[in-house]
Amino acid sequence: MHHTLKPRSLAVLATATSAGLLLSACGSGSNASSGGAKEFSLTINDDNHIVQQELTTLSKGSCASQNKALPLKIQTLPIGNVDQKVQLLAGQNALPVQFAAGGTPQLTKTLDKAGQVLDLEKTLKDLGVWDDLQPAAIKTVENLYGKFNVMPYQFNIEGIWYNKTLFAEHHVATPATYDELVAAAAKFKSADVTPFSADGKDGWPLTRLVSGYLYRELGPDALQAVADGKAKLTDPAYVKAAQAIADLGKAGYFGKGVGSIDYDTAVQQFLTGKAAMFYMGSWALGDFNDKTKNKIGAANVGFMPFPTVAGGKGSADQIPANVGLPVAVSAKSYNAEVGDWLSCITKNYGAASLKDQGTVSGFKPGGDTGTLPPLTQTVQDTITKTKTSTLWFEALFNTKATETSQTNAAPLVTGSLSAKDFMQKIQTDLDNG
C-alpha cells in the first residue's frame, strides 16, 4: 500500500463509520407521543374478530370522514402476547391509539397510574357522548377498573351454548344441575359425539368452567374472598371445583388433544356439529349468526347458564358478565382527530354491532339495529333479567397468576397436573404478587 492514511485520520474515519453503523441500526420508530396520533391504530388479540370487523365497517361507513383524517390501522397478535406488547410499548411511550386492555385489569390500572391511559369518562363527557353508553356497561367497567377508562366494544354474558339438534337426537334434556350436565356429557361421549368443544391452547375457556363451578358451589363472592385474602384457592372447597373440571377432562369429555385446540378450531367444532356443548361468552354470537361459519344453523343453537351444583350457595341466574377484552385509549396520543373517532364510535357502534354482527356492546343502540337475530334477542333478555353478575376466574388475579392459571388449564384437564397442584401454583403467584 503506497498511500497510507495518517493514524488520526484513520481513527476519525473508523469511529465515524462505527457510529454511523450503530445509528443506522437504531430504527426510528414512530412515536405516538410526539404530536399526537398519525393513525387511528388498534392493537388487539387476533381471536377477537368482532371489534376489528365492526371498526373496519364504521371506517367505511358512518366514520368515513374520521377515517380520512386519521386512517384506521389494526394490528393483531395472539392473546397471550397482548400484555407483553402493551407493556413494552408503554415503556417506550409508544402505545397505539387503542390497545386491548390486557388479560388482567391490574395491568390497565398500572398503566393508568403511569398516566398512559386516557380518562374516558372525562373525554366522552367533554365530547358530549357520555349518554350514549349503557349504564350497566359503565358499572361493569367501574367495578373492574375502578373508573371508566376502557371502550366497552362488547357487553357479554357467558354460559353454555348447546346444539339443540344433537340434544334432541340423543334424547338429552337441557341440564339444570351439574350432575345432569355430566350425565349428558357421558351420553354424548358414548355416542361418539364430543361433549364439550374447548380451546385448551389459550386455557381461559377451561378456567371459566372452574369459576363457573365455584360460583355455583360457594356463591358469587367466591373469588372476591380470595382477592380479599379471606379464602385461598388451596382450600378444599376451591380445589373441589378444579377437581370437578379435571374429572370432565379425565373422562374424555373435551375430546382428543384439547391442549392443541385453539379458539377458532373450538368454535368450528361446535358450529360444524362435532361437539354438543360449548362454554363461551356472547361475543361468539358474531360467529353463531354468520351463515358461512355456522353449519348447524343459528336456530339450532341454544343457551343455558352454568347449571347449579347440588347443595351449592349459588344459583343459575347469577351470570358471568363482562365487557370482553376491553380496549383502552392511549393518553399520550390523544388529539382532536382521535376525539372525533371516539365520538363517532360511541354514537354508532352500538347499533352497528347489533345490525352487522348480532352482538351486544356497551354502547346504546342509537340507530337502525335491523331485525335482531333470535339468539341475540335471547342474550339481550338474559342481560336484562340478570340481577347478580359474576366475573371470570382470573379477573382479580395479577398478571403472573393469570398466566399460570391459563397455561396450566390444559394440563389440569389432561391429567398431567392435579387439581390441588393447579390451585397451589396459582395461589403461590397470588401470594407473591
Binding site: P7, A11, T15, Q84, A114, E403, T407
Partner: protein
C-alpha cells in the same frame, strides 16, 4: 509489522472502533442489566432499590430451578444430538459420498435457513392429534406405539422439541465438521489404512483425534446456542404444558415483559450468563487433554 504493533496509537486506531462498538452493544447493556438486578419494578411503574432481594428470590424460586433444570436437560440432549448427527453426517460426506456429497449437503443444510416459526408450525402439525392426526402420529401408530397427545405431557413435548431442533441444525454442524475433516491429510489416512486401521478403529484413533479442534468448536457453539434457546420453544410449545418446557430465557422474558419485573428478569439473565460461562470454561478445561495420547 512489529513497528506497527509496537505503536500504541496504531493499536488504538486498529482496536478502537471495534472496541467502541463492542462496548456500546455488549458491555453497556450487560452492565445496565446487572444494575437492574438490585432493583424492583419496571419502566412503567419506576424502580425501587431492593439490594440482594432478587438473588434471594432466585435462590428460593421453584420455577427458576425448574427452568434451570430444563435448560440443562435441553442443552445436553440437543447439543449431543446436533454434534453427534453432525459428525455422522460429516463422516458420511467424507468417507462414503465423497465428491457426490454436494447435493446431500445442500438438502440436509436446507432446514438451517428456514425460519424457526415455520419449522415449529410444521412440527406442531406433524405431531398433532387434534384437530387432525399428524403424519408423525400416523407413523408412530403404524409402528404400534400409541403415544396420544405429544404436547399434553412434559416428556412428549420435550421429545418433539429435541427432534425438531436436532433436525433443524444438524446440517450446519455437518458442514462445520465436514470442513474440519477435509483438513485431515489423505496421506495420514492412507498410512493408517496400510497399518490395518479401518472402519471404527480408523475413526477412533486417527479421525477423531485429528478433528478434535473442530469438534470442540462445534461443542462450544452448540452448548452456547442450546443454553440460550428461546425461539423454537416459544414457537413450538410456548413453554408448556404449564411451564414444563420453559427454559431460563423464556422465564426471564416473561418475568421482565409479562410480569413487569425487570429486576428479577435481569437476575435470571445473570444466572444464564454465569451458566453459559461456566459450561464453556468446563469444556475448555476438558479439551486441554491431548486426544492423540489417549
Amino acid at each position: 509489522m512489529r513497528s506497527v504493533l509496537g505503536d500504541r496509537r496504531a493499536i488504538a486506531v486498529l482496536l478502537g472502533p471495534a472496541l467502541l462498538v463492542y462496548t456500546l452493544v455488549m458491555l453497556v447493556p450487560m452492565g445496565w442489566s446487572l444494575g437492574y438486578t438490585f432493583f424492583k419494578g419496571n419502566v412503567i411503574e419506576g424502580f425501587t432499590f431492593d439490594g440482594f432481594g432478587n438473588f434471594e428470590k432466585l435462590w428460593h424460586d421453584p420455577q427458576a430451578h425448574s427452568a434451570l433444570w430444563f435448560t440443562f436437560k435441553y442443552g445436553l440432549a440437543v447439543s449431543a444430538g446436533q454434534v453427534l448427527c453432525g459428525y455422522l453426517l460429516a463422516l458420511l460426506y467424507v468417507f462414503v459420498l465423497r465428491r457426490s456429497s454436494a447435493a446431500v449437503r445442500t438438502l440436509v443444510f436446507f432446514p438451517v435457513i428456514l425460519p424457526t416459526v415455520a419449522v415449529a408450525l410444521m412440527f406442531q402439525k406433524l405431531f398433532a392429534v387434534a384437530p387432525q392426526n399428524g403424519l408423525a402420529n400416523v407413523a408412530v401408530e403404524g409402528l404400534g406405539i400409541h403415544h396420544g397427545d405429544w404436547f399434553a405431557s412434559a416428556g412428549g413435548s420435550f421429545i418433539v422439541l429435541v427432534v425438531m431442533d436436532v433436525w433443524r441444525s444438524m446440517g450446519f454442524y455437518g458442514v462445520l465438521i465436514f470442513a474440519g475433516l477435509l483438513d485431515i491429510p489423505e496421506e495420514t489416512l492412507e498410512s493408517a489404512r496400510l497399518d490395518g486401521a479401518t472402519g471404527w478403529r480408523l475413526i477412533r484413533h486417527i479421525v477423531l483425534p485429528l478433528s478434535a479442534p473442530v469438534l470442540l468448536s462445534s461443542v462450544v457453539f452448540s452448548i452456547n446456542g442450546t443454553l440460550k434457546v428461546f425461539d423454537s420453544v416459544l414457537a413450538l410449545t410456548n413453554g408448556g404444558p404449564g411451564s414444563d418446557t420453559t427454559p431460563l430465557t423464556l422465564y426471564m422474558f416473561r418475568t421482565a415483559f409479562s410480569y413487569g419485573d425487570y429486576g428479577y428478569g435481569s437476575t435470571i439473565a445473570s444466572l444464564l450468563t454465569v451458566v453459559c460461562l461456566g459450561v464453556t470454561l468446563i469444556i475448555f478445561r476438558f479439551s486441554r487433554r491431548d486426544l492423540t495420547k489417549g
